[in-house]
């Protein structure tokens, strides 16, 4: 199974500005320090092995969309942020060489950044496509139709030719979808959000974004510890610093890197992927947050190590 990240930003998609590209080029050339490269392969090796991530790459700017690939011959995706557009185009390429045209989409919630990619999801125009949308909210179809009403978008929902199925899932119940056993948990976020635990091919993946954790509620914390228990991969909202999440951004519905590590440690999870990055954070800021989180995990580790990754658009995590 491969977990593939198509969109990793929260709240609003963001794009790198030309000045930021220029800064990266300057930093790369400075790091090269006049070195002579014999070939493109040499350059690639230097870039891949000697440049820090914020110089050689970018965390990207598409909003939430994560694929679990290889669970079955159907597609399985979490959320329909702006990253869904690129996923859709890539999925169509895979369908042209035999992949089944069935999409299973699990929605954390219906805030704009998590549905905004759907009007640009090209497979939805294909009459041979089946799109199954799952979520804890029973208002998913209403939210999708509304964002494609004439006042907001030139193509109405009814124009889409794919076959749609909407299914409301219930916390505490297990669903069997696309080769996975799926459970969900209600999370603290405005109008609720839902986290998912997928058990597929002997591996467990938790997708828990847009969830604020009220640390004074020990019962709730313990529920999440159990939901994350022994997970191979936990994808979690780490949007704010802990201090911000406790003070000026309290009740904004998001979490922090410190809480993510503590929860994963208590649950004996194996890997954490930091996700739903603050859109105003540039690559250097996110990288610093990643390094701080790795260090925090080292400081707080009592039993087995938790590997800490930081999501970027295009990241692939094999399980």
């Amino acid at each position: 199974m491969l977990v593939r990240f198509w969109g990793t930003r929260g709240s609003l998609p963001t794009a790198m500005r030309s000045g930021e590209v220029r800064d990266k080029l300057i930093a790369a050339l400075q790091a090269a320090n006049g070195r002579h490269f014999q070939s493109a392969a040499d350059v690639a090796s230097f870039v891949d092995n000697e440049l820090d991530f914020p110089i050689r790459s970018t965390y990207g700017g598409a909003s939430s969309c994560v694929e679990l690939d290889g669970t079955s011959d159907e597609f399985l995706v979490c959320d329909m942020g702006s990253g869904l557009r690129e996923f859709g185009l890539d999925a169509m390429r895979r369908s042209r060489v035999g992949r089944k045209k069935t999409y299973n989409i699990f929605m954390s919630h219906l805030h704009w950044d998590h549905i905004m990619g759907f009007p640009f999801f090209v497979p939805a125009f294909d009459p041979d496509v089946t799109i199954r949308i799952f979520g804890g909210h029973d208002t998913i179809e209403r939210a999708l139709r509304r964002q494609q009403e004439k006042i907001s978008f030139p193509v109405p929902f009814d124009y889409l030719k794919a076959r749609f199925e909407f299914t409301t899932l219930v916390p505490g119940e297990v669903a069997d979808v696309a080769g996975c056993r799926v459970e969900l948990i209600r999370q603290h976020h405005d109008n609720d959000s839902y986290g998912y635990r997928f058990f597929c091919n002997g591996k467990s993946v938790v997708y828990s974004t847009d969830a604020e954790h009220k640390l004074g509620d020990q019962e709730s914390m313990q529920r999440f510890v159990e939901f994350f228990r022994n997970a191979d991969l936990v994808i979690m909202d780490t949007m704010y610093s802990f201090a911000d999440a406790m003070s000026m951004k309290a009740d904004w519905g998001h979490s922090s890197n410190v809480v993510a590590v503590d929860l994963c440690h208590r649950a004996s999870a194996r890997r954490l992927v930091m996700f739903h990055h603050e859109p105003i954070f540039g690559d250097n800021t996110i990288r610093k947050m990643h390094l701080d989180t790795i260090r925090y995990e080292e400081l707080m580790r009592r039993e087995s190590a938790l590997e800490v990754l930081c999501a970027y658009d295009g990241l692939e995590v094999p399980l």
């Binding site: 640390l215 020990q218 802990f242 201090a243 925090y296």
Partner: protein
């Protein structure tokens, strides 16, 4: 939880005696809040001496935040001292070093508390 309390020049000094995590954070908070109230009554500050605390998880930090929120309306200053290297890093990574006055020694914290 291991805990000691002292009163000097109207300032309340508390010293937790063990790491703070999800197992004892509730008790930590239940000791901290009355200490804020006592500092308010005595007209002084609250100094938290962490010299015997090896580490603190997010739940412990949250209890500190609750103390800060309790202290603000009654104009009680909270000062922190005794942080070992691990605790200093925790305060830095969590952003709490921006929220609390951190002093290298108890004497320095007392001097700052007396200065008002």
């Amino acid at each position: 939880m291991k805990w000691s309390k002292d009163l000097r020049q109207g300032n309340v000094i508390v010293s937790p005696g063990e790491p703070v995590d999800h197992e004892n954070a509730g008790e930590f908070e239940s000791l901290l809040i009355p200490a804020v109230e006592e500092a308010s009554r005595s007209g002084g500050s609250l100094i938290i001496d962490f010299r015997n605390v090896d580490y603190m998880t997010s739940i412990g930090l949250r209890a500190l935040m609750m103390a800060v929120k309790e202290a603000e309306p009654v104009s009680v200053k909270i000062l922190v001292t005794g942080l070992n290297e691990t605790m200093q890093e925790i305060f830095h990574i969590s952003g709490f070093e921006q929220l609390l006055a951190i002093h290298e020694s108890l004497e320095s914290a007392l001097a700052a508390a007396s200065a008002g």
